[in-house]
Symmetry: C2
Amino acid sequence: MKVTRAQIVEGAYQALGERGLGGLSMRGLAQDLGVQPGALYYHVASKQELLAAVAARILDEIPAPATDPRSAADALRTALLRVRDGAEVVSFVQAFRPEIVVPAHELRRLFAESFGPREAEWAARTVVHYVLGFVAEEQNHAELVRAQILPEEPSRAEDSSRAFMFGIDAILGGLEVGSAR
Amino acid sequence: MKVTRAQIVEGAYQALGERGLGGLSMRGLAQDLGVQPGALYYHVASKQELLAAVAARILDEIPAPATDPRSAADALRTALLRVRDGAEVVSFVQAFRPEIVVPAHELRRLFAESFGPREAEWAARTVVHYVLGFVAEEQNHAELVRAQILPEEPSRAEDSSRAFMFGIDAILGGLEVGSAR
DNA sequence: ACCTGAACACCGTTCAAGT
DNA sequence: ACCTGAACACCGTTCAAGT
């Protein structure tokens, strides 16, 4: 059996959607691809490196470069929600490969219009931390519902979107005030 | 050899400080305590449950109930920074035992003075997400420096505090505007 | 160039049996 | 009541050897 790096990354992305981050193992992935575990290490340096590629794949779902911070935050949330544990994977990768989190650069660029470079960086990080934290909680809740540890709440999705927007508007409002000062 | 639940929790907290979350295993902890791994499971249901107790232990370092959101956020950050990977542990636990994250209740209580219950909850979550996300990044960076993957930057600590305050002030400023509306 | 087979050094958890 | 011994079902990673 032969595999390419692209197949491994795509397989990992699929497996993430089907089994979640806790169910994503190199051995399981090898079995999905009809190959021995060791074969993966010819194409990929480590599980960490593979997760970095999966994070890039998740963020690739964002359609176009954003024109304002509010829609950048919204597009990021949407991309993260497309795959199970998406926020956790991106958070993990952000720790050691921050350059992969492209929306952070875009936010910095957008904020550079009203801030100095230092403040633009801080503002972008504030927004990214909020979005990653918010969506991680959303998805962790979903995992617990799936595991039947928590009951399902039908109105949750709509509430979540309103709560998300409440926070984003507060943050962006506060940043605007700060930049005007 | 005999162990109590309190000793296990304290041992886990110590081990976290010394080896980080990645180095904290039930087997290693058992060895530290001079006991077989299975013995731990007489006192503790699972590693998850133990981590929940460790998270409570981390948050116990917060001295007194806060009087305003800004100092609540600051006290939370300080407690998280006291132990390696503190933010990651609390984030993890928040997912399945949110009631353990006491600062979140306090923030909700403080925001209830200017918001309805729904908005107070959202406001509290916004602040908690930001603090956890910010400190997690700080500590992950520290882990990478420790592993000599990233170089040490001497001015980092002071910069971090300023960046943290920049974000907190923006969020709280934005929330104030929202509540006045 | 790419993969297999097999091993190394780990995990969390369970549970009969011992004291 | 509390612990040991031993097992079960896993991990990520490495690497000689094969094709």
